[in-house]
């Protein structure tokens, strides 16, 4: 499930809902992205996340579908936040449920690597020298591309 929202999310209630939905779940892997107060050597006072409504949901559902082809998953939840955020704020939640931890860990990382490189989000930071759009990182492309060289599943 994909749910784009401005407000903060409650990790406990999201996990509780996933757990309650299926007694066969043996593992839940969870990633929480957090806004940092430093980027490229500059202090970051706040940031705004813009996205492409409609395409965001399609792109993320597509990523989850690809993860399901590689690992045995029960469910995947992606809650990306958009709008204004400050350092220490949570920015994205990914939670993946499976029978065993191996599939859950791998799929959770896979979803995040593809989210960072293929989902239409853009960050704008406020630093002491003004506002600036964040540049895409080559290291994120590398993190995604390494999945091409791994055997499906583990």
């Amino acid at each position: 499930m994909v749910r784009v929202q401005q407000e903060d999310f409650d990790v406990n209630s999201e996990i509780a809902r996933l757990r309650a939905a299926n007694p066969r779940i043996g593992a839940i892997a969870c990633f929480i992205g957090v806004v940092r107060d430093l980027n490229d050597g500059d202090a970051v006072a706040s940031m705004t996340l813009e996205h492409y409504p409609g395409m965001t949901e399609k792109a993320l559902e597509g990523i989850v579908a690809r993860a399901r082809e590689r690992w045995d998953l029960y469910d995947a939840l992606i809650v990306p936040r958009v709008g204004a955020m400050s350092p220490t704020d949570p920015i994205v939640l990914v939670a993946v449920t499976s029978a065993h931890r191996g599939d859950a860990f791998a799929a959770c990382e896979f979803v995040m690597d593809y989210l960072k490189t293929e989902a239409p989000f853009w960050k704008k930071e406020t630093t002491p020298s003004g506002e600036r759009w964040v540049d895409a990182r080559t290291t994120d492309d590398v993190a995604r591309d390494r999945w091409d060289n791994e055997p499906a599943g583990r």
Binding site: Y52, K116, A119, F121, A136
Partner: protein, 85 residues
């Protein structure tokens, strides 16, 4: 062919608009041709589309390539490389 064009993030700021409806000449049939046609209209499109190093495009909300074809009523988006998460 009539299409909708959306601009996001830095590109939206550079062209000064989030959205426009365009009636394309008949020979504009791909993303690459559209990009060239938009730039040929002069500033701000010429500058925004030419100077931004890596402009990405989507057609009907799916990532597109230069040769991706357009269709009547398509939603075409231009934007910088993504930086979410």
């Amino acid at each position: 062919m009539k299409i909708t064009i959306l601009y996001f993030a830095a590109l939206r700021e550079r062209v000064g608009m989030a959205r426009e409806e365009c009636l394309l000449p008949p020979d504009i049939e791909t993303v690459a041709a559209l990009r060239q046609w938009l730039a040929s209209r002069g500033a701000p499109w010429s500058e925004a589309l030419a100077e931004m190093p890596r402009v990405r495009a989507a057609v009907d909300q799916a990532m597109a390539r230069a040769e991706t074809p357009l269709r009547e009523g398509a939603e075409v988006a231009f934007f910088p490389p993504v930086t979410g998460g």
